[in-house]
Protein backbone atom coordinates (compact mmCIF):
# COMPACT_ATOMS: atom_id res chain seq x y z
CA UNK A 1 0.00 0.00 0.00
CA UNK A 2 1.36 3.41 -0.84
CA UNK A 3 1.48 5.98 1.88
CA UNK A 4 -0.37 9.27 1.61
CA UNK A 5 2.79 11.15 2.47
CA UNK A 6 6.31 9.84 2.63
CA UNK A 7 9.15 12.07 3.67
CA UNK A 8 12.73 10.82 3.21
CA UNK A 9 15.53 12.52 5.10
CA UNK A 10 14.35 15.99 4.19
CA UNK A 11 16.46 18.99 5.04
CA UNK A 12 16.05 22.70 4.59
CA UNK A 13 18.78 25.26 5.10
CA UNK A 14 18.27 29.01 5.06
CA UNK A 15 21.26 31.26 4.53
CA UNK A 16 20.94 34.87 5.56
CA UNK A 17 23.32 37.78 5.73
CA UNK A 18 22.70 40.28 8.48
CA UNK A 19 24.94 42.75 6.64
CA UNK A 20 27.82 43.00 4.21
CA UNK A 21 30.44 42.25 6.80
CA UNK A 22 28.43 40.04 9.12
CA UNK A 23 29.16 36.32 8.85
CA UNK A 24 26.61 34.25 7.02
CA UNK A 25 23.96 32.80 9.29
CA UNK A 26 23.10 29.25 8.38
CA UNK A 27 19.77 28.20 9.82
CA UNK A 28 19.11 24.50 9.64
CA UNK A 29 15.33 24.74 9.97
CA UNK A 30 14.62 21.13 9.07
CA UNK A 31 17.56 18.83 9.65
CA UNK A 32 16.78 15.33 8.48
CA UNK A 33 13.15 14.35 8.93
CA UNK A 34 11.76 11.03 7.67
CA UNK A 35 8.33 9.55 8.11
CA UNK A 36 5.64 7.69 6.26
CA UNK A 37 2.00 8.51 6.87
CA UNK A 38 -0.57 5.93 5.74
CA UNK A 39 -3.78 7.19 4.18
CA UNK A 40 -6.54 8.03 6.63
CA UNK A 41 -4.17 8.71 9.52
CA UNK A 42 -3.58 11.99 11.27
CA UNK A 43 -0.01 12.84 12.14
CA UNK A 44 0.16 15.53 14.79
CA UNK A 45 3.45 17.42 14.78
CA UNK A 46 4.17 19.31 17.99
CA UNK A 47 7.05 21.53 18.87
CA UNK A 48 7.89 25.03 19.96
CA UNK A 49 8.44 28.07 17.78
CA UNK A 50 11.52 27.74 15.62
CA UNK A 51 11.52 23.94 15.70
CA UNK A 52 10.93 23.79 11.94
CA UNK A 53 7.39 22.45 11.93
CA UNK A 54 6.02 25.17 9.67
CA UNK A 55 9.00 24.89 7.31
CA UNK A 56 8.35 21.16 7.06
CA UNK A 57 4.67 21.84 6.34
CA UNK A 58 5.52 24.27 3.56
CA UNK A 59 7.90 21.82 1.94
CA UNK A 60 5.26 19.09 2.00
CA UNK A 61 2.82 21.53 0.39
CA UNK A 62 5.39 22.24 -2.33
CA UNK A 63 5.54 25.90 -1.34
CA UNK A 64 9.19 25.80 -0.35
CA UNK A 65 12.00 24.03 -2.18
CA UNK A 66 13.76 21.21 -0.38
CA UNK A 67 17.50 21.51 0.24
CA UNK A 68 18.01 17.77 0.46
CA UNK A 69 15.86 14.65 0.55
CA UNK A 70 12.65 13.64 -1.12
CA UNK A 71 8.94 13.96 -0.50
CA UNK A 72 6.44 11.54 -2.01
CA UNK A 73 2.76 12.35 -2.04
CA UNK A 74 0.46 9.48 -2.89
CA UNK A 75 3.48 7.48 -4.01
CA UNK A 76 4.80 10.04 -6.47
CA UNK A 77 7.56 12.55 -6.13
CA UNK A 78 6.27 15.99 -5.21
CA UNK A 79 9.05 17.60 -7.22
CA UNK A 80 7.84 15.92 -10.41
CA UNK A 81 4.24 17.10 -10.12
CA UNK A 82 2.82 20.16 -11.84
CA UNK A 83 0.94 22.69 -9.74
CA UNK A 84 -2.52 21.46 -10.77
CA UNK A 85 -1.82 17.85 -9.96
CA UNK A 86 -0.30 18.81 -6.62
CA UNK A 87 -3.31 20.99 -5.79
CA UNK A 88 -5.66 18.04 -6.39
CA UNK A 89 -3.74 15.92 -3.88
CA UNK A 90 -2.73 18.20 -1.03
CA UNK A 91 -4.13 21.43 0.38
CA UNK A 92 -3.35 23.68 3.34
CA UNK A 93 -5.28 25.26 6.20
CA UNK A 94 -3.25 28.01 7.84
CA UNK A 95 -3.16 29.42 11.33
CA UNK A 96 -4.36 32.95 10.94
CA UNK A 97 -7.68 33.22 9.10
CA UNK A 98 -7.14 36.98 9.02
CA UNK A 99 -4.19 36.66 6.66
CA UNK A 100 -5.09 33.47 4.81
CA UNK A 101 -8.02 35.01 2.92
CA UNK A 102 -7.51 37.68 0.28
CA UNK A 103 -9.24 40.76 1.75
CA UNK A 104 -10.25 41.98 -1.71
CA UNK A 105 -12.14 38.88 -2.79
CA UNK A 106 -15.60 37.62 -1.95
CA UNK A 107 -15.99 34.33 -0.12
CA UNK A 108 -17.32 32.52 -3.21
CA UNK A 109 -14.31 33.58 -5.31
CA UNK A 110 -11.86 32.63 -2.57
CA UNK A 111 -13.32 29.13 -2.33
CA UNK A 112 -13.54 28.80 -6.13
CA UNK A 113 -9.84 29.52 -6.67
CA UNK A 114 -8.58 25.91 -6.58
CA UNK A 115 -11.33 24.93 -9.05
CA UNK A 116 -10.62 27.86 -11.34
CA UNK A 117 -6.89 27.09 -11.29
CA UNK A 118 -7.57 23.63 -12.69
CA UNK A 119 -8.60 25.36 -15.91
CA UNK A 120 -11.10 22.77 -17.11
CA UNK A 121 -14.07 23.21 -14.80
CA UNK A 122 -17.01 25.24 -16.07
CA UNK A 123 -18.24 28.28 -14.20
CA UNK A 124 -21.53 26.60 -13.36
CA UNK A 125 -19.78 23.53 -11.98
CA UNK A 126 -17.47 25.74 -9.96
CA UNK A 127 -20.43 27.59 -8.46
CA UNK A 128 -22.23 24.39 -7.55
CA UNK A 129 -19.19 22.81 -5.96
CA UNK A 130 -18.36 25.99 -4.02
CA UNK A 131 -21.86 26.24 -2.60
CA UNK A 132 -21.91 22.56 -1.73
CA UNK A 133 -18.59 22.79 0.10
CA UNK A 134 -19.59 26.00 1.91
CA UNK A 135 -22.76 24.31 3.13
CA UNK A 136 -20.71 21.36 4.27
CA UNK A 137 -18.48 23.54 6.50
CA UNK A 138 -21.50 25.38 7.90
CA UNK A 139 -21.36 28.61 5.89
CA UNK A 140 -24.76 29.73 4.68
CA UNK A 141 -25.35 30.87 1.10
CA UNK A 142 -25.77 34.56 1.91
CA UNK A 143 -22.30 34.69 3.44
CA UNK A 144 -20.81 33.61 0.11
CA UNK A 145 -21.10 37.15 -1.22
CA UNK A 146 -19.32 38.78 1.71
CA UNK A 147 -15.75 39.95 2.04
CA UNK A 148 -13.50 38.32 4.67
CA UNK A 149 -13.54 41.47 6.81
CA UNK A 150 -17.27 40.96 7.36
CA UNK A 151 -16.78 37.50 8.90
CA UNK A 152 -15.86 36.36 12.40
CA UNK A 153 -12.65 34.44 13.04
CA UNK A 154 -14.48 31.13 13.16
CA UNK A 155 -16.34 31.82 9.92
CA UNK A 156 -13.10 32.78 8.20
CA UNK A 157 -11.47 29.53 9.24
CA UNK A 158 -14.49 27.63 7.90
CA UNK A 159 -14.08 29.42 4.58
CA UNK A 160 -10.38 28.50 4.55
CA UNK A 161 -11.32 24.86 5.18
CA UNK A 162 -13.88 24.97 2.36
CA UNK A 163 -11.22 26.30 0.00
CA UNK A 164 -8.86 23.50 1.05
CA UNK A 165 -11.48 20.80 0.46
CA UNK A 166 -13.26 22.02 -2.64
CA UNK A 167 -10.98 19.97 -4.93
CA UNK A 168 -11.49 16.92 -2.70
CA UNK A 169 -7.78 16.48 -1.98
CA UNK A 170 -6.53 13.40 -0.20
CA UNK A 171 -4.27 15.18 2.24
CA UNK A 172 -4.76 18.38 4.21
CA UNK A 173 -1.88 20.10 5.97
CA UNK A 174 -3.27 22.04 8.93
CA UNK A 175 -0.69 24.49 10.27
CA UNK A 176 -1.92 25.59 13.72
CA UNK A 177 -5.49 25.86 12.43
CA UNK A 178 -7.01 26.79 15.78
CA UNK A 179 -4.28 28.74 17.61
CA UNK A 180 -5.59 32.13 16.55
CA UNK A 181 -9.14 31.35 17.67
CA UNK A 182 -10.95 31.64 20.96
CA UNK A 183 -11.47 28.39 22.86
CA UNK A 184 -15.17 28.14 22.18
CA UNK A 185 -14.56 28.63 18.46
CA UNK A 186 -11.50 26.35 18.51
CA UNK A 187 -13.72 23.51 19.65
CA UNK A 188 -16.16 24.13 16.78
CA UNK A 189 -13.36 24.03 14.22
CA UNK A 190 -11.72 20.92 15.71
CA UNK A 191 -15.04 19.12 15.63
CA UNK A 192 -15.58 20.18 12.05
CA UNK A 193 -12.13 18.97 11.00
CA UNK A 194 -12.71 15.62 12.72
CA UNK A 195 -16.11 15.22 11.05
CA UNK A 196 -14.78 16.10 7.60
CA UNK A 197 -11.92 13.66 7.94
CA UNK A 198 -14.32 10.87 8.71
CA UNK A 199 -16.78 11.73 5.95
CA UNK A 200 -14.27 12.53 3.21
CA UNK A 201 -11.61 9.96 4.26
CA UNK A 202 -8.92 12.58 4.52
CA UNK A 203 -5.35 12.30 5.73
CA UNK A 204 -4.21 15.16 7.96
CA UNK A 205 -0.85 16.53 8.85
CA UNK A 206 -1.80 18.51 11.90
CA UNK A 207 0.75 20.95 13.23
CA UNK A 208 0.22 22.53 16.60
CA UNK A 209 1.99 23.66 19.72
CA UNK A 210 -1.03 22.60 21.76
CA UNK A 211 -0.61 19.02 22.92
CA UNK A 212 -4.20 18.65 24.04
CA UNK A 213 -5.50 19.68 20.66
CA UNK A 214 -3.15 17.23 18.95
CA UNK A 215 -4.18 14.46 21.28
CA UNK A 216 -7.79 15.10 20.40
CA UNK A 217 -7.38 14.86 16.65
CA UNK A 218 -4.22 12.86 15.85
CA UNK A 219 -3.70 9.14 15.46
CA UNK A 220 0.06 9.46 15.83
CA UNK A 221 2.25 12.22 17.14
CA UNK A 222 5.72 13.45 16.26
CA UNK A 223 7.60 15.74 18.61
CA UNK A 224 9.93 18.08 16.78
CA UNK A 225 12.96 19.79 18.28
CA UNK A 226 15.48 21.93 16.38
CA UNK A 227 14.60 20.52 13.00
CA UNK A 228 14.30 16.82 13.84
CA UNK A 229 11.66 14.42 15.08
CA UNK A 230 12.96 13.46 18.51
CA UNK A 231 10.04 11.17 19.25
CA UNK A 232 7.24 9.67 17.22
CA UNK A 233 4.59 7.27 18.46
CA UNK A 234 0.91 6.36 18.22
CA UNK A 235 -1.02 8.97 20.11
CA UNK A 236 -2.09 6.84 23.07
CA UNK A 237 1.41 5.52 23.66
CA UNK A 238 3.02 8.93 23.43
CA UNK A 239 0.71 10.40 26.01
CA UNK A 240 0.76 7.34 28.25
CA UNK A 241 4.46 6.66 28.06
CA UNK A 242 6.53 9.58 26.76
CA UNK A 243 10.16 8.46 26.34
CA UNK A 244 12.12 11.49 25.24
CA UNK A 245 12.92 13.95 28.03
CA UNK A 246 11.73 16.79 25.79
CA UNK A 247 8.36 15.13 25.27
CA UNK A 248 8.08 14.68 29.02
CA UNK A 249 8.88 18.36 29.55
CA UNK A 250 6.31 19.40 26.97
CA UNK A 251 3.67 17.21 28.56
CA UNK A 252 4.38 18.46 32.04
CA UNK A 253 4.18 22.07 30.92
CA UNK A 254 0.59 21.72 29.74
CA UNK A 255 -1.56 23.52 32.27
CA UNK A 256 -4.71 21.49 32.70
CA UNK A 257 -7.62 23.28 34.34
CA UNK A 258 -7.13 21.58 37.68
CA UNK A 259 -7.02 24.12 40.47
CA UNK A 260 -4.57 23.73 43.30
CA UNK A 261 -1.91 21.89 41.32
CA UNK A 262 0.28 24.93 40.92
CA UNK A 263 2.70 25.52 38.09
CA UNK A 264 4.93 22.51 37.37
CA UNK A 265 8.70 22.79 37.23
CA UNK A 266 9.57 21.70 33.69
CA UNK A 267 13.27 21.74 34.54
CA UNK A 268 14.55 23.02 31.21
CA UNK A 269 16.73 25.88 32.42
CA UNK A 270 17.38 29.20 30.79
CA UNK A 271 18.93 28.17 27.46
CA UNK A 272 16.65 28.58 24.51
CA UNK A 273 17.08 26.66 21.26
CA UNK A 274 18.54 28.46 18.24
CA UNK A 275 18.32 26.74 14.83
CA UNK A 276 21.33 28.79 13.63
CA UNK A 277 23.45 27.28 16.36
CA UNK A 278 22.58 23.64 16.84
CA UNK A 279 24.60 22.12 19.69
CA UNK A 280 26.94 19.18 19.00
CA UNK A 281 26.03 15.75 20.29
CA UNK A 282 22.40 15.49 21.24
CA UNK A 283 20.76 18.74 20.16
CA UNK A 284 18.62 18.78 23.29
CA UNK A 285 21.45 18.29 25.80
CA UNK A 286 21.83 21.94 26.94
CA UNK A 287 18.25 21.94 28.19
CA UNK A 288 17.94 18.30 29.14
CA UNK A 289 17.39 17.64 32.84
CA UNK A 290 18.82 14.11 32.61
CA UNK A 291 21.70 14.67 30.17
CA UNK A 292 24.86 12.63 30.72
CA UNK A 293 28.39 13.55 29.73
CA UNK A 294 28.32 11.58 26.51
CA UNK A 295 25.17 13.42 25.38
CA UNK A 296 27.41 16.42 24.74
CA UNK A 297 29.46 14.67 22.10
CA UNK A 298 27.52 11.71 20.81
CA UNK A 299 24.51 12.29 18.61
CA UNK A 300 21.76 9.78 19.35
CA UNK A 301 20.67 7.30 16.70
CA UNK A 302 17.24 7.14 15.25
CA UNK A 303 15.92 4.27 17.32
CA UNK A 304 12.76 2.66 16.05
CA UNK A 305 11.18 -0.05 18.19
CA UNK A 306 7.65 -1.38 17.86
CA UNK A 307 6.56 1.48 15.63
CA UNK A 308 7.97 4.09 17.96
CA UNK A 309 10.88 6.37 17.29
CA UNK A 310 12.94 7.92 20.04
CA UNK A 311 16.07 9.91 19.43
CA UNK A 312 17.76 9.77 22.80
CA UNK A 313 20.86 7.99 24.09
CA UNK A 314 19.02 7.11 27.25
CA UNK A 315 16.02 5.59 25.55
CA UNK A 316 15.37 1.89 25.64
CA UNK A 317 17.13 0.05 22.85
CA UNK A 318 19.81 2.71 22.42
CA UNK A 319 23.44 1.67 22.50
CA UNK A 320 24.58 1.01 26.04
CA UNK A 321 21.37 1.99 27.72
CA UNK A 322 21.59 2.27 31.46
Amino acid sequence: MTCAVEVRDVRRVFRTHAGMLAPERVVRAVDGVSFALPAGHVLGIVGESGCGKSTLARMILGLLPISEGEILVDGRSLAAMDRRERARLIQPVFQDPFSSLNPRQRVRDIVALPLAAQGNISGRQQRDQVMEMLARVGISAEIADRLPAQLSGGQRQRVAIARALVLHPRIVVCDEPTSALDVSVQAQILNLLAELRRDLRLTYLFISHNLAVVEHIATEVAVMYLGRFVERAPVDELFRDPRHPYTRALLSSVLTPEPGNGIPDVGLGETYPDPANIPPGCRFHPRCPVALNRCRTQAPDNIVTHGRLTECLLAEGAQGTR
Binding site: E48, S49, S152, G154, D182, V183, S184, V185, Q186, A187, Q188, L190, N191, A194, E195, H209, N210, L211, A212, V213, E215, H216, I217, V235, F239, R240, A249, L250, L251, S252, S253, V254, L255, T256, P257, E258, P259, G260, N261, G262, I263, P264, D265, V266, L268, E270, Y272
Partner: protein
Protein backbone atom coordinates in the same frame (compact mmCIF):
# COMPACT_ATOMS: atom_id res chain seq x y z
CA UNK B 1 -7.41 44.78 56.36
CA UNK B 2 -8.37 47.22 53.64
CA UNK B 3 -8.27 45.97 50.06
CA UNK B 4 -5.39 46.91 47.76
CA UNK B 5 -7.67 47.62 44.85
CA UNK B 6 -11.37 48.15 44.77
CA UNK B 7 -13.43 48.80 41.69
CA UNK B 8 -17.20 49.28 41.74
CA UNK B 9 -19.37 49.57 38.66
CA UNK B 10 -16.46 50.39 36.36
CA UNK B 11 -17.61 51.33 32.88
CA UNK B 12 -15.74 52.13 29.70
CA UNK B 13 -17.39 53.24 26.48
CA UNK B 14 -15.87 54.12 23.12
CA UNK B 15 -17.94 56.79 21.43
CA UNK B 16 -21.67 56.21 21.58
CA UNK B 17 -21.81 52.79 19.97
CA UNK B 18 -19.47 50.48 21.88
CA UNK B 19 -19.62 49.60 25.55
CA UNK B 20 -16.41 47.69 26.27
CA UNK B 21 -16.73 47.41 30.04
CA UNK B 22 -20.17 47.43 31.61
CA UNK B 23 -20.19 47.68 35.35
CA UNK B 24 -17.22 45.63 36.50
CA UNK B 25 -16.76 45.34 40.23
CA UNK B 26 -13.83 43.60 41.85
CA UNK B 27 -11.83 43.70 45.04
CA UNK B 28 -8.24 42.61 45.47
CA UNK B 29 -6.59 41.88 48.79
CA UNK B 30 -2.91 41.91 49.62
CA UNK B 31 -1.04 38.92 48.28
CA UNK B 32 -4.00 37.73 46.24
CA UNK B 33 -3.97 36.55 42.65
CA UNK B 34 -7.14 37.55 40.88
CA UNK B 35 -7.64 36.19 37.37
CA UNK B 36 -9.77 37.98 34.84
CA UNK B 37 -10.61 35.41 32.20
CA UNK B 38 -12.55 35.65 28.99
CA UNK B 39 -12.36 35.41 25.23
CA UNK B 40 -11.08 38.11 22.90
CA UNK B 41 -13.20 41.24 22.95
CA UNK B 42 -14.76 40.52 26.35
CA UNK B 43 -13.29 43.68 27.86
CA UNK B 44 -10.64 42.17 30.13
CA UNK B 45 -7.73 44.16 28.73
CA UNK B 46 -9.77 47.35 28.63
CA UNK B 47 -10.58 46.80 32.32
CA UNK B 48 -6.85 46.65 33.10
CA UNK B 49 -6.09 49.76 31.09
CA UNK B 50 -8.98 51.56 32.78
CA UNK B 51 -7.54 50.75 36.19
CA UNK B 52 -4.10 51.94 35.06
CA UNK B 53 -5.57 55.11 33.55
CA UNK B 54 -4.01 54.19 30.22
CA UNK B 55 -7.11 54.26 28.01
CA UNK B 56 -6.98 56.03 24.67
CA UNK B 57 -8.49 59.49 24.33
CA UNK B 58 -11.56 58.15 22.56
CA UNK B 59 -12.55 56.10 25.60
CA UNK B 60 -14.77 57.30 28.40
CA UNK B 61 -14.32 55.80 31.87
CA UNK B 62 -16.68 56.07 34.80
CA UNK B 63 -16.86 54.25 38.11
CA UNK B 64 -18.72 54.43 41.40
CA UNK B 65 -15.57 53.33 43.17
CA UNK B 66 -12.03 53.00 41.87
CA UNK B 67 -9.61 52.95 44.77
CA UNK B 68 -6.01 51.89 45.16
CA UNK B 69 -5.26 51.86 48.90
CA UNK B 70 -6.26 55.38 49.93
CA UNK B 71 -6.06 56.88 46.47
CA UNK B 72 -9.31 57.65 44.71
CA UNK B 73 -8.25 56.92 41.14
CA UNK B 74 -11.35 58.57 39.68
CA UNK B 75 -10.16 61.91 41.06
CA UNK B 76 -6.42 61.51 40.80
CA UNK B 77 -4.71 63.84 38.33
CA UNK B 78 -2.72 62.48 35.39
CA UNK B 79 0.48 63.44 37.23
CA UNK B 80 -0.64 61.72 40.39
CA UNK B 81 -1.47 58.62 38.39
CA UNK B 82 1.89 58.73 36.62
CA UNK B 83 3.57 58.79 40.03
CA UNK B 84 1.74 55.59 41.04
CA UNK B 85 2.37 53.80 37.75
CA UNK B 86 5.61 51.91 37.64
CA UNK B 87 6.08 52.59 41.35
CA UNK B 88 3.23 51.14 43.38
CA UNK B 89 1.21 49.73 40.47
CA UNK B 90 3.09 48.05 37.65
CA UNK B 91 1.94 46.37 34.50
CA UNK B 92 3.35 43.80 32.08
CA UNK B 93 2.01 43.23 28.61
CA UNK B 94 1.61 40.31 26.24
CA UNK B 95 4.30 41.26 23.75
CA UNK B 96 7.42 42.44 25.54
CA UNK B 97 9.02 43.53 22.26
CA UNK B 98 6.52 46.34 21.84
CA UNK B 99 6.71 47.51 25.43
CA UNK B 100 10.50 47.66 25.56
CA UNK B 101 12.16 50.49 23.68
CA UNK B 102 14.39 48.99 20.98
CA UNK B 103 16.74 51.99 21.01
CA UNK B 104 17.94 51.60 24.62
CA UNK B 105 19.76 48.84 26.46
CA UNK B 106 17.91 46.73 28.97
CA UNK B 107 19.99 48.27 31.76
CA UNK B 108 19.27 51.87 30.87
CA UNK B 109 15.54 51.20 30.61
CA UNK B 110 15.43 49.43 33.94
CA UNK B 111 17.53 52.12 35.64
CA UNK B 112 15.36 54.84 34.17
CA UNK B 113 12.19 53.40 35.73
CA UNK B 114 13.88 53.31 39.12
CA UNK B 115 15.33 56.82 38.86
CA UNK B 116 11.98 58.23 37.80
CA UNK B 117 10.49 57.24 41.14
CA UNK B 118 13.46 57.19 43.53
CA UNK B 119 16.22 59.70 44.10
CA UNK B 120 19.14 57.40 43.49
CA UNK B 121 22.27 57.44 41.39
CA UNK B 122 22.57 55.64 38.09
CA UNK B 123 24.99 53.14 39.61
CA UNK B 124 22.58 52.26 42.41
CA UNK B 125 19.77 51.87 39.91
CA UNK B 126 21.87 49.56 37.74
CA UNK B 127 22.82 47.48 40.81
CA UNK B 128 19.16 47.11 41.61
CA UNK B 129 18.46 46.11 38.01
CA UNK B 130 21.16 43.44 38.11
CA UNK B 131 19.82 42.13 41.40
CA UNK B 132 16.32 41.82 39.97
CA UNK B 133 17.46 40.15 36.76
CA UNK B 134 19.16 37.56 38.93
CA UNK B 135 15.99 37.26 40.92
CA UNK B 136 13.97 36.33 37.81
CA UNK B 137 16.44 33.59 36.95
CA UNK B 138 18.72 35.33 34.48
CA UNK B 139 22.18 33.88 34.97
CA UNK B 140 24.34 36.61 33.44
CA UNK B 141 22.69 39.87 34.52
CA UNK B 142 25.78 41.97 33.77
CA UNK B 143 25.73 40.89 30.15
CA UNK B 144 21.97 41.26 29.74
CA UNK B 145 21.97 44.81 31.11
CA UNK B 146 24.23 45.88 28.24
CA UNK B 147 22.11 44.18 25.58
CA UNK B 148 19.29 45.60 23.48
CA UNK B 149 15.80 44.03 23.56
CA UNK B 150 16.12 42.49 20.08
CA UNK B 151 19.16 40.53 21.22
CA UNK B 152 17.04 38.59 23.71
CA UNK B 153 14.72 35.68 23.10
CA UNK B 154 11.02 35.96 23.89
CA UNK B 155 11.36 34.20 27.21
CA UNK B 156 14.25 36.40 28.30
CA UNK B 157 12.44 39.54 27.23
CA UNK B 158 9.43 38.62 29.33
CA UNK B 159 11.75 38.00 32.29
CA UNK B 160 13.24 41.43 31.71
CA UNK B 161 9.74 42.94 31.62
CA UNK B 162 8.87 41.27 34.88
CA UNK B 163 12.03 42.40 36.62
CA UNK B 164 11.46 45.90 35.28
CA UNK B 165 7.94 45.90 36.70
CA UNK B 166 9.35 44.86 40.06
CA UNK B 167 12.06 47.57 40.23
CA UNK B 168 10.11 49.78 42.62
CA UNK B 169 8.55 46.94 44.62
CA UNK B 170 4.98 47.53 43.50
CA UNK B 171 2.08 46.34 45.63
CA UNK B 172 -0.11 45.64 42.64
CA UNK B 173 1.05 43.96 39.47
CA UNK B 174 -1.29 43.83 36.49
CA UNK B 175 -0.24 41.24 33.91
CA UNK B 176 -2.13 41.21 30.62
CA UNK B 177 -1.68 37.84 28.87
CA UNK B 178 1.97 37.77 29.98
CA UNK B 179 2.73 34.36 28.45
CA UNK B 180 0.45 34.17 25.42
CA UNK B 181 3.29 34.94 22.98
CA UNK B 182 5.57 32.31 24.54
CA UNK B 183 6.11 28.61 24.02
CA UNK B 184 4.49 26.24 26.50
CA UNK B 185 7.69 25.25 28.27
CA UNK B 186 8.74 28.88 28.62
CA UNK B 187 5.22 29.81 29.69
CA UNK B 188 5.41 27.34 32.55
CA UNK B 189 8.76 28.77 33.61
CA UNK B 190 7.52 32.37 33.53
CA UNK B 191 4.30 31.60 35.41
CA UNK B 192 6.21 29.65 38.02
CA UNK B 193 8.49 32.62 38.43
CA UNK B 194 5.55 35.01 38.80
CA UNK B 195 3.95 32.74 41.36
CA UNK B 196 7.13 32.50 43.44
CA UNK B 197 7.80 36.24 43.29
CA UNK B 198 4.24 36.98 44.21
CA UNK B 199 4.43 34.79 47.32
CA UNK B 200 7.81 36.13 48.40
CA UNK B 201 7.00 39.80 47.89
CA UNK B 202 3.36 39.68 48.97
CA UNK B 203 2.31 41.11 45.62
CA UNK B 204 -1.27 41.43 44.57
CA UNK B 205 -1.50 40.09 41.05
CA UNK B 206 -4.28 40.91 38.61
CA UNK B 207 -3.71 38.33 35.88
CA UNK B 208 -5.58 38.69 32.62
CA UNK B 209 -5.76 35.63 30.42
CA UNK B 210 -7.92 33.64 28.06
CA UNK B 211 -6.41 30.35 29.22
CA UNK B 212 -8.43 28.46 31.83
CA UNK B 213 -5.45 26.21 32.50
CA UNK B 214 -3.42 29.19 33.67
CA UNK B 215 -6.39 30.39 35.72
CA UNK B 216 -6.74 27.07 37.48
CA UNK B 217 -3.07 26.92 38.38
CA UNK B 218 -2.53 30.55 39.36
CA UNK B 219 -5.71 32.10 40.69
CA UNK B 220 -6.96 32.57 44.21
CA UNK B 221 -10.04 34.20 42.82
CA UNK B 222 -11.47 34.13 39.29
CA UNK B 223 -13.76 36.53 37.50
CA UNK B 224 -15.14 35.32 34.17
CA UNK B 225 -15.86 38.14 31.76
CA UNK B 226 -18.27 38.07 28.85
CA UNK B 227 -19.26 41.04 26.68
CA UNK B 228 -17.96 43.59 29.17
CA UNK B 229 -19.45 42.11 32.32
CA UNK B 230 -18.22 39.80 35.02
CA UNK B 231 -20.68 36.93 34.60
CA UNK B 232 -19.28 34.79 37.37
CA UNK B 233 -16.82 35.36 40.18
CA UNK B 234 -15.64 32.81 42.72
CA UNK B 235 -12.59 31.36 44.46
CA UNK B 236 -10.70 29.23 41.94
CA UNK B 237 -11.58 25.93 43.60
CA UNK B 238 -15.28 26.71 43.70
CA UNK B 239 -15.36 27.98 40.15
CA UNK B 240 -13.88 24.83 38.69
CA UNK B 241 -15.76 22.49 41.04
CA UNK B 242 -19.15 24.14 40.66
CA UNK B 243 -19.31 26.49 37.68
CA UNK B 244 -22.77 27.99 37.62
CA UNK B 245 -23.11 30.48 34.79
CA UNK B 246 -23.96 28.73 31.49
CA UNK B 247 -21.08 30.55 29.79
CA UNK B 248 -18.51 29.35 32.32
CA UNK B 249 -19.81 25.82 32.01
CA UNK B 250 -19.71 26.01 28.22
CA UNK B 251 -16.20 27.36 28.24
CA UNK B 252 -14.92 24.58 30.50
CA UNK B 253 -16.40 21.95 28.20
CA UNK B 254 -14.52 23.42 25.22
CA UNK B 255 -11.04 22.75 26.58
CA UNK B 256 -9.38 19.52 25.55
CA UNK B 257 -7.41 18.18 28.51
CA UNK B 258 -4.42 15.92 27.81
CA UNK B 259 -4.85 12.32 28.88
CA UNK B 260 -8.59 12.90 29.39
CA UNK B 261 -9.45 13.27 25.74
CA UNK B 262 -12.30 11.18 24.36
CA UNK B 263 -11.41 11.00 20.70
CA UNK B 264 -14.65 9.32 19.68
CA UNK B 265 -16.71 12.26 20.96
CA UNK B 266 -16.80 15.83 19.70
CA UNK B 267 -15.54 18.52 22.03
CA UNK B 268 -18.09 20.70 23.70
CA UNK B 269 -18.48 24.03 21.98
CA UNK B 270 -20.52 27.19 22.29
CA UNK B 271 -22.50 28.04 19.15
CA UNK B 272 -22.57 31.54 17.75
CA UNK B 273 -20.32 34.52 18.37
CA UNK B 274 -19.90 37.26 20.96
CA UNK B 275 -22.43 40.03 20.21
CA UNK B 276 -21.50 43.68 19.79
CA UNK B 277 -22.81 45.51 22.78
CA UNK B 278 -24.12 49.07 22.53
CA UNK B 279 -24.30 51.17 25.72
CA UNK B 280 -28.11 50.84 25.89
CA UNK B 281 -28.07 47.02 25.72
CA UNK B 282 -30.52 45.42 28.12
CA UNK B 283 -30.73 41.88 29.40
CA UNK B 284 -28.34 38.98 29.35
CA UNK B 285 -25.63 39.33 26.71
CA UNK B 286 -25.18 35.56 26.50
CA UNK B 287 -28.83 34.74 25.83
CA UNK B 288 -28.41 34.25 22.06
CA UNK B 289 -25.85 31.50 22.61
CA UNK B 290 -27.38 29.97 25.74
CA UNK B 291 -29.26 26.67 25.72
CA UNK B 292 -31.08 27.68 28.90
CA UNK B 293 -32.28 31.06 27.60
CA UNK B 294 -35.87 32.04 28.29
CA UNK B 295 -37.95 35.10 27.31
CA UNK B 296 -37.20 36.83 30.60
CA UNK B 297 -33.47 36.87 29.77
CA UNK B 298 -34.13 39.87 27.51
CA UNK B 299 -34.93 41.88 30.62
CA UNK B 300 -32.82 42.81 33.61
CA UNK B 301 -30.55 40.02 34.86
CA UNK B 302 -30.00 39.61 38.59
CA UNK B 303 -26.61 38.94 40.15
CA UNK B 304 -27.13 35.94 42.43
CA UNK B 305 -25.07 34.33 45.13
CA UNK B 306 -24.27 30.65 44.94
CA UNK B 307 -22.32 30.83 48.19
CA UNK B 308 -21.03 33.69 50.32
CA UNK B 309 -18.11 34.42 47.95
CA UNK B 310 -19.40 32.98 44.69
CA UNK B 311 -21.73 35.10 42.58
CA UNK B 312 -23.02 34.87 39.03
CA UNK B 313 -25.06 36.99 36.64
CA UNK B 314 -27.97 34.83 35.55
CA UNK B 315 -31.65 34.14 36.19
CA UNK B 316 -31.15 30.44 36.71
CA UNK B 317 -31.26 29.17 40.30
CA UNK B 318 -27.99 27.93 41.80
CA UNK B 319 -29.10 24.31 41.67
CA UNK B 320 -29.96 24.34 37.96
CA UNK B 321 -26.67 22.62 37.22
CA UNK B 322 -27.95 19.45 38.90
CA UNK B 323 -30.84 19.38 36.44
CA UNK B 324 -28.39 19.77 33.57
CA UNK B 325 -26.16 16.99 34.84
CA UNK B 326 -29.11 14.65 35.14
Amino acid sequence: MSPVLEAGNLRVTFGTSVAAVRGVSLTMNRGETHCLVGESGCGKSVTALAIMGLLSRTAHRSADILRFHDYDLTRLSERGMARLRGDRIAMIFQEPMTSLNPAYTVGSQMAEVFQRHRRVSRATALDRAAELLQRVGITAPGLRLKQYPHQLSGGLRQRVMISMALMCEPELLIADEPTTALDVTVQAQILRLLQNLQRELGLSLLLITHDLGIVARMADRVSVMYAGEIVESAPAGALFAAPTHPYTRGLLRCIPVPRQVRRDEPLGSIPGVVPRIAPDFVGCSFRDRCAQAMPDCARHVPRQRATIDHDYLCRLPTDWTRAEAA
